[in-house]
Amino acid sequence: MDCIYLDNAATSWPKPREVITAMKDYQENLGASPGRSGHRLAIEAGRTVLDARIALAELFNAPSPLDIIFTKNATEALNISTLGLLRAGDHVITSSMEHNSIMRPLRFLETRGVEVTVARCSPEGELDPEDIRPLIKNNTRAIYLTHASNVSGTIMPVERAGAIAREHGILFCVDAAQTAGAIPIDVERMNIDLLAFTGHKSLFGPSGTGGLYLRKGLDREIDPLIMGGTGSRSEFEDQPDFMPDKFESGTPNTIGIAGLLAGVRFVMGSGIEAIEERERGLAFSFIQGISSFEGVTVYGPAAAVKRIPVVSFNINGMSPSDAALFFDEKYNIMTRPGLHCAPSAHRTMGTFPIGTNRMSFGFFNSDADVRTAIEAVGELHDYKNQ
């Protein structure tokens, strides 16, 4: 039996054929290091990297492709956005639904004199953006908000939070790990100053790809975490002070970026609204299917439009890890049990420390996958209720 992959929130799989082809083509026919050397293969590699910036800038409505830097994942992008930006005495606001990719750097910075306020969300993971307003202080430097929870699937009120940040002259950083490629993002309309994204989830790139959009001029306020060779200004020992080189030292993951470019083009060619509709339909069918089982609790908002296709649930009295093993061995369904690197989100939902079962649907899942997943949950539910 073929496996049913329902762990797309961890990384998407399978990838579009174009992604594999692009990576193979790069390795077989190009292989050179971009930004170095100046021979035709190096220049062509540079064009690949620039094309990826252009595609991402178009996807996010960023003013310039050079406003985007590549990182190895969203976590690195969020570390630049926090460790590189914040100083002792700064105050920041975040939500209780955040992933540890933002919580851990912020908790570290707390030990270095940065003040962190966590806005409480509802058990469904929803944040009332007006709850942010009274938390703003004179020294509030930035608001850090996930675009959608990797646990409950809840879409956060990014546009309204961005408007509040702009109104108060505060920087607004969005973690788009779960949403880039899955739902539309417009950094201008949403007032986003920093957008951290990963390449290997809904953008369909390989692991090891990600990036950060920085609003023009903001790069001057942020220190790079890594310094070294960039292929530019080689006569100087000082780190370049311009985008994107300031934040891109060392040989980049060009083969990964070639794959990411193909992934972004796949998203744009398929239409992000079509992807969103397809994935939302799968998730909603699944939720409807398992909600009828007594003793099965589904977390997150009830309305389909308020969530991404990430579904957390529990089967009364059964540990998520036992359930995940059953799904894997009996039904060949790949899921992720536990806390999903987001203990604060689970505390908010009331599922800490046990966690939840998480099934996350992707563009390549079928209606039959959903039916099998419902059947699998149903069998466990029957077993628990015998």
Binding site: P34, G35, I43, G46, L50, P65, R233, S234, E235, P240
Partner: protein
């Protein structure tokens, strides 16, 4: 053909990303140019630059103005090329 022929001018950029951004714009405008490694006589940078005919100087700077940051223009016959 010598890369250092007196009748060429050169556009230097902060980085290869900028040079390749300029390349896209110049191709769109159908202005002839060549992307080459930065001649060591001009700069010790290890990147690439754009070599072009001085007759296209105005068209090139016009096409790139406000679109790409140009670090330096080295005009044809400039002493730095031949020193």
């Amino acid at each position: 053909m010598s890369l250092m022929a007196r009748d060429y001018s050169f556009l230097l950029f902060k980085s290869v990303s900028h040079a390749l951004s300029a390349e896209i714009i110049l191709k769109r405008h159908e202005i002839p140019f060549k992307l080459i490694p930065v001649p060591k006589q001009i700069s010790s940078d290890c990147g690439v630059c754009i070599r072009f005919s001085p007759v296209d100087n105005e068209r090139i700077t016009g096409a790139l103005s406000c679109a790409v940051d140009i670090d330096r223009v080295v005009s044809a016959g400039c002493d730095t090329i031949f020193s």
